[in-house]
């Protein structure tokens, strides 16, 4: 195995394992800290994919912003709103069956010959591995920041502005929700 493969599998294991802890942990705090490791793993995968700017952004926005906000929200408000830190799980078995089935459908190729010998070796499911993707030449490792900036300020200016307006609306909505009502 090459060094790239080893690093990939390390980061993939960190990401998926921590994501499993996020979903399965009993305590909200454990979930939040496992989410930290998931974000770090995804940032490592970005570095492997040659997206240096996005890896830094992932750390800044997700770890520095969203996760800290989540932790503050959990730790500061659980007494105010009597939020139970031991979270409940409902309908775990059907949801697990659905999600497991979805994952098999997407990414787990199965040889039919194991089940029905007459057909021969046919691989079903695992759509990601069956599809012949349109592979390009691929980019080598190069600085991406300048090109991302050009795309944002040029071709994708309208989505960029729409996203910023949407952020403003969300901010105002959050301020409206948490504002203390005088008349009530």
């Amino acid at each position: 195995m090459s060094a790239e493969a080893v690093i990939f599998f390390v980061f993939a294991t960190i990401t998926v394992g921590a994501a499993a802890i996020v979903v399965l942990a009993r305590s909200l705090i454990y979930s939040a800290f496992a989410l930290l490791f998931t974000f770090f793993g995804v940032a490592g995968l970005y570095v492997l994919l040659g997206a240096d700017f996005l890896a830094a952004t992932q750390l800044l926005i997700y770890v520095g912003g969203i996760l800290v906000l989540l932790l503050f929200g959990v730790m500061l408000t659980h007494k105010l709103y009597d939020l139970n830190l031991k979270t409940e799980v409902t309908q775990f078995l059907p949801a697990a069956i659905i999600c497991g089935g979805l994952f098999v459908l997407l990414a787990w190729p199965i040889e039919v010959s194991l089940l029905l010998p007459r057909i021969g070796r046919v691989r079903i499911l695992g759509t990601l591995w069956q599809t012949s993707w349109a592979m390009g030449s691929g980019r080598g490792p190069a600085a991406t920041t300048e090109e991302i900036g050009r795309l944002f300020m040029g071709r994708y200016l309208l989505p960029f502005e729409a996203a910023s307006v949407l952020l403003l609306v969300a901010l105002m909505g959050a301020a409206m929700i948490v504002r203390r009502r005088k008349d009530a």
């Binding site: 909200l28 926005i61 409940e88 949801a95 999600c99 979805l102």
Partner: protein, 78 residues
């Protein structure tokens, strides 16, 4: 050799785990964490396609949309 389906598989695992979190948890904060996982898987898909696909950097700017919606989630929680 690590190719596109490897990354897509990791992304699919992240997505299904996030979906599991959204479906099974009753607490709103946990549901938001599941949504964050789903958004991250979408980001990973976009970046992987921009690395291996025929296009250029078109995928990497899609990150900003998903990151922005994640930020909106976070601000609603806060």
């Amino acid at each position: 050799m690590i190719t596109l389906p490897h990354y897509l598989t990791v992304s699919a695992a992240l997505f299904t785990l996030g979906l599991l979190g959204v479906l099974t948890r009753r607490n709103a904060v946990n549901v938001l964490m599941g949504i964050e996982l789903i958004l991250n898987s979408a980001n990973l898909n976009l970046v992987a396609f921009s690395r291996f696909g025929p296009g250029n950097l078109q995928g990497q700017r899609g990150f900003a949309d998903a990151a922005g919606s994640g930020q909106r989630n976070g601000s609603v929680v806060g």
